[in-house]
């Protein structure tokens, strides 16, 4: 596994250097948020959010607890609606369509936008069934196709070599880090365009965290990734752009280099240097 991973990352480094010499291609905007407000009952949790999210980039969202970063992430796949008292205004267009419009089917949205949660949440089923769940609910029944999807997804999450001989074992027997990568593979099985990650490494040890970070670097070649993180070093390491949230507002949203080395707003600088939060 680790040799495969190292190889993949070496390849990636080479490729990145090649890319750097080429002129930057304009990336397509996947999500465009305009004037988004969100209330939990009386609490104004998101205030006039404007930000765009591009394909093949990692967008990190940082900020202290309760700043609205997770809420914003869950608005992107309307998971936030599981809380019944939520109200929103403004719009989020996904590929040109307003997803906050009630006529936009959440099932459609969530098929195209995968999510990885803070705590690994595999189903109490076998490894195979965990991955096959997504394709199955979307109507794929052919065993051969399912087999291929399972392999492709596990390979995509760089966990195939570890798990290929125990596909029928219960997913609960895996370590925390493996479970989280399994959840990423499960998300890939639906072939989404965007992957939302809600503090995916906050419950993991440093080694597993590194694995996930390397994986994110791989995945961004094909997916738009939005990652909420408490860990500022993580945001600095893996993201292309960073948004700093504070009290439900975006204080600053820019290239990660810029946010971390030369923040425009004083509060961003204070937060990044650890003066609060």
């Amino acid at each position: 596994m680790s040799t495969v991973m190292t190889k993949a990352i070496n390849l990636k480094l080479v490729r990145n250097e090649n890319e750097r010499s080429e002129p930057e291609v304009e990336k397509e905007v996947v999500y465009d948020t305009k004037g988004l407000n969100l209330w939990y009952g009386e609490t104004h949790a998101l205030k006039n959010i404007n930000m765009d999210i591009k394909e093949k980039e990692v967008t990190a969202i940082i900020g202290p607890s309760g700043c609205g970063k997770s809420t914003y992430l869950k608005t992107l796949n309307r998971m936030v609606e599981l809380v019944p008292i939520v109200k929103t205004s403004g719009q989020i267009t996904y590929k040109g369509k307003n997803i906050l419009d009630k006529s936009f089917r959440v099932e459609d949205l969530r098929t195209q936008v995968g999510m990885v949660f803070q705590k690994a949440n595999p189903f109490p089923k076998s490894i195979y069934e965990n991955i096959a769940y997504g394709p199955k609910i979307h109507g794929i029944k052919n065993k051969k196709i399912l087999d291929e999807i399972v392999e492709k997804s596990l390979r995509g999450a760089f966990i195939w070599d570890e798990l290929k001989d125990r596909l029928n074992d219960n997913a609960y027997g895996l370590s925390g880090g493996q479970q989280q990568r399994l959840c990423i593979a499960r998300c890939l099985a639906v072939e989404p365009n965007v992957i939302l990650m809600d503090e995916p490494t906050s419950a993991l040890d440093p080694k597993s965290t590194l694995r996930i970070e390397e994986l994110v670097q791989e995945l961004k070649k094909d997916y738009a990734i939005v990652i909420v993180t408490h860990n500022m070093q993580q945001a600095a390491r893996i993201s292309d752009k960073t948004a700093f949230f504070l009290n439900g507002e975006i204080i600053e949203y820019d290239k990660t280099d810029h946010i971390f080395n030369n923040p425009t707003d004083e509060r961003t600088g204070d937060y990044i240097s650890g003066r609060f939060g």
Binding site: N77, M79, L109, N121, F123, Y133, V190
Partner: protein, 296 residues
């Protein structure tokens, strides 16, 4: 030196009385437990010594008879079995369906909590009241007569609240993170309920259902209100036949023991059969719970 508030001498003096008190309370609690156990043991010993010698193949497979030496309880066993044929599907479908609606579909609000509270209240309504309901609704208004269908539906109503509450608790115990994962992949609510939530809650639901079933098997009061006889009637062959059931048989034999003393022994023998049946059902419930218990 700082002032000391704990007077070592005084503490020492009180110590032995505190320890004595502790032992006294322990003894009291143990005695409470013992009381229940002794009563149960006396009951079991009395029933078994009285009834065990009357249990044999003939007793289990014979028709009812006024002649105590020839009387059997096959009719009552079949009647109880047929009752379960009605009770199980009705309670499972309506009970689990109601629990799914209340837990997963209904909007959390005043109406939902009002319904939930009243279902818990219904679980406490005396069983004879359900008997009256069954008599009015199934026997008279719907003109079923005192047949298995009427008895089964009455018992189903009686245990429905228990099944609903148990199923609700089992559904609530399924972690939200599992359904979130399912919704996150674009699953509909029904797909999530059927493929993730129900399988995870099934052991809890089944345990509750089986315990409710053993309650239904032992119920006598509602059946007496429905006018279920223990007469010389043919074995029931379907849900529209008249019937008798094990608890009814025990009830009538106990009453008639003043006429024929041996009936009391037959009642004891029938109680053993019923107890064994209940014991088996409870064991199945425990087995299911242990086998499928899972950590999330």
């Amino acid at each position: 030196m700082a002032t000391k508030y704990m007077d070592a001498e005084l503490v020492g003096k009180r110590m032995s009385s505190r320890v004595r008190k502790n032992a006294g309370w322990k003894g009291l609690f143990f005695a409470s437990t013992l009381f229940g156990l002794i009563v149960l043991a006396v009951l079991l010993v009395r029933i078994f010594t009285q009834g065990i010698e009357y249990i044999n193949i003939d007793f289990l497979k014979n028709h009812l008879s006024t002649d105590a030496s020839r009387a059997g309880i096959m009719g009552a066993i079949l009647g109880t079995a047929w009752l379960m044929v009605v009770v199980i599907p009705v309670t499972m479908v309506i009970g689990v369906g109601t629990a799914i609606y209340l837990e997963l579909y209904a909007k959390k609000g005043k109406l939902q909590s009002f319904i939930a509270t009243n279902i818990s209240n219904l679980a406490g309504v005396p069983s004879i009241v359900y008997g009256l309901l069954g008599l009015t609704l199934f026997v008279r208004a719907l003109e079923f007569g005192n047949v298995i269908l009427a008895g089964g539906l009455t018992l189903a109503l009686l245990v429905l609240p228990i099944v609903i509450v148990a199923a609700q608790e089992a559904l609530r115990a399924v972690p939200g993170s599992l359904s979130e994962a399912s919704y996150g992949m674009g699953a509909t609510k029904w797909q999530t309920v059927r493929r993730i939530i129900l399988p995870a809650a099934l052991p809890g639901i089944l345990t509750g259902a089986i315990l409710a079933l053993s309650r239904a098997i032992g119920e006598t009061a509602p059946l007496t209100v429905l006018g279920i006889p223990a007469l010389l009637i043919p074995f029931p062959e379907g849900i529209f036949d008249t019937f008798t059931a094990l608890p009814m048989q025990i009830y009538y034999w106990t009453i008639d023991a003043s006429l024929v003393a041996e009936y009391a022994n037959l009642a004891a023998a029938t109680i053993i059969v019923l107890l064994v049946l209940l014991f088996l059902l409870n064991s199945i419930a425990i087995l299911i719970r242990n086998k499928f218990q899972q950590r999330y």
